[in-house]
Amino acid sequence: MLKVTFPRMGHSYIAFKMLMEEMGNEVVVPPRPSKRTLDLGVQHAPEFACLPFKILLGTYLETIEMGANTLVTSGGHGPCRAGLYAQVHHRIIQDLGHKVNMVCFEAPLRHPIDFLKKVNFLNSARLSYRAVYQAIKKGWHKLKALDNVERLTHKIRPRELVAGATSKVYRQVQLWLDQAKTYQEIDEAYHESVKALNNIPQDPDRMILKVGIIGEIYVLLEPASNQEIEEVLGNLGVEVERSIFLTGWTRDNLNKNSKDLVTCHEAAKSWIPVAIGGHGQDSVGHTVLYAQQGFDGVVQLAPFTCIPEIVSKTVLTRVSRKYNIPVLTFFLDEQTGKAGMATRLEAFVDLLRRKKLARLDTHPAVTS
């Protein structure tokens, strides 16, 4: 019997779990990355592997201890390292004496046969292709609901009257969505979640800062890898907008007035004209867009030695100056501590607040 596990990236495991179970597999839910996860990863990964590589390796080793025998992940064809993760992970894990299957999904349009083979391998329930397709669609539906709920927490947390209220409700509603198995249940859980979050008592008059979060996808999506930066910022009265969600980036986030800027790649054109791997180009594009939308600041999250983010950071210094938008960068590694990060964030938020107040003083008519 296949005991399936997969990388943990934020709340996406809730949707993947449902999908894998519907295909007839036992699922070992990857535990939230902890100090031990990272230690395991660091111990067995090459020194300059990027942080996500180390955390994922640690996660795989932990789930193997818990009985997992099949690792499911996604691939890619460069230019950055993520596409090679699976084979290097697999080799290191084999070298440690574990016999496991590694199922690495590549882009289905480029490799259709390979894709179907892998689907068949994981299809323990022998579902029809149609049924598999339906299950994937439903998983996506659930993921979208989860993403939307998370977006809502970003808006409510900075305005909550009781500190910690949003995070508490958020944990609760994630369970509701986890338990919902049909479209109807998912929709119901989603509406209840939105209601519960909107019911949190809020202070409508608080001065709220808006900060965009850009950077590498894994450290953006997995709170355990970024010391819960969204929560920390929320508690400081900052509404965050994260540039990456697995279910995509919605058009309505765009400034309605700027018709010519359609995508962040176009916004990045004059700085980094081609895709350089990872989300390097996106980081620059999003910063430009956030500045044009009047955000107060941008926080960049990047794993230590992250190649594309090193390129984007090099360019961002000038972008930040040109658009007059402060950018704070964190290169995260196994030594990054929550306290140190919080201190830097507090100072940054202070700076943004002072800037905003000065602006409001000189243009009293402009209110946020």
């Binding site: 590589f53 350089i276 791997g277 190649i307 090193i310 950071k313 360019v315």
Partner: protein, 332 residues
């Protein structure tokens, strides 16, 4: 019209592609200057200007570019994406012109021609490359025929360069020979040790970056072969058990060369040179290290270099390794 001068930094891809670039530009009547050999001052300048988190070779590249500032009308910082329709370059190569343009001040105009023929068919591969060279050439002349001629001439030069490398020369020597120096092949005694030294070209052939690894080995009486000395067929033929090739040209070459040297078993030792903070290499050297366990009779060592690599430390490690190999070979 006065003759334009193009500056080419003696760093990164220089060691592989410079002969071709120089020949192309010279053929168009353009004057080519290079930056000097890497030195402490360049590194210090680079460290000052580049991002602290960047790898040493990138910092050094910044230094090389700065040193050309007042010596050229243009600086050539190509955007190398893909030259063989398959493998790419490190994302830092892909964003190299952007990093240079947007963080260094008062530079002459940067020529950032993009070279990319990824996923192109047999013929399109060539035409895509030719297009890039036309773009580059049209900055200096409108004469299409002249550019075409320069393009073919540059291919020839590259061919000759590769032949020199495959005859056993290392890039710096081969570049010198192309420039008119005499071809001297050092003769090694029959029983001298022979090491394969692998790694990115700019980690290996920049004596400053690696604090003279190759020179030191020569002094220890060790004959050195590198990836560049192998005919391309040998590399292409190496099979590996992984679903995907390494994405990056230099990593792919290094990995295949390692497989070749282990399998063929004719060298006395293998040294892999890697740089502190190099992203792609982190994925490669561990695979090579694990591969090396299958060949316990061939000693293997990883040598990591960084901004602070001390002369003494590297010397000691090289001497110890060489001693060990020598003792083993004698069977004591």
């Amino acid at each position: 019209m006065s003759v334009a001068t193009v500056g080419i930094p003696r760093a990164l891809a220089y060691y592989i592609y410079f002969p071709r670039w120089r020949s192309f530009l010279n053929e168009l009547g353009v004057n080519v200057v290079t930056s000097g050999l890497s030195n402490r001052q360049m590194l210090d300048e680079g460290v000052k200007e580049a991002l602290a988190e960047a790898c040493v070779p990138i910092k050094l590249y910044f230094g090389h570019v700065l040193s050309l500032k007042d010596k050229a009308d243009y600086i050539f910082v190509p955007r190398l994406y893909c030259l063989n329709s398959k493998t790419l370059y490190c994302p830092k190569f892909l964003g190299l012109p952007d990093m240079i343009k947007h963080s260094l001040n008062h530079l002459p105009p940067i020529i950032d021609t993009m070279f990319n023929n990824r996923y192109k068919g047999f013929l399109a591969r060539r035409t895509e490359l030719a297009k890039s060279f036309f773009q580059l050439g049209s900055k200096f002349t409108n004469d299409k025929l002249k550019i075409l001629k320069a393009f073919y001439r540059s291919l020839k030069t590259e061919q000759r360069y590769l032949e020199l490398l495959q005859s056993g020369l290392l890039p710096n020597q081969a570049i010198a020979v192309l420039g008119g120096a005499k071809n001297v092949n050092i003769a090694y005694p029959e029983d001298s040790l022979k090491f394969a030294v692998l790694g990115y070209p700019y980690h290996l052939y920049d004596d400053f970056i690696n604090v003279g690894v190759l020179t030191k080995l020569r002094r220890l009486g060790v004959q050195v072969v590198t990836t560049e000395n192998l005919p391309p067929g040998i590399l292409a033929r190496q099979k590996h058990p992984y679903p995907k090739d390494m994405f990056w040209t230099f990593s792919d070459r290094a990995f295949r060369a390692a497989l070749h040297f282990f399998r063929e078993g004719r060298v006395d030792g293998i040294i892999y040179v890697t740089a502190f903070g190099c992203g792609p290499d982190a994925m490669v050297y561990r695979l090579i290290e694990m591969e090396s366990k299958k060949y316990p009779h061939i000693p293997f060592m990883i040598l990591m270099i960084d901004e602070h690599s001390g002369e003494a430390g590297i010397s000691t490690r090289l001497e110890a390794f060489t001693d060990m190999v020598r003792r083993r070979k004698k069977g004591v």
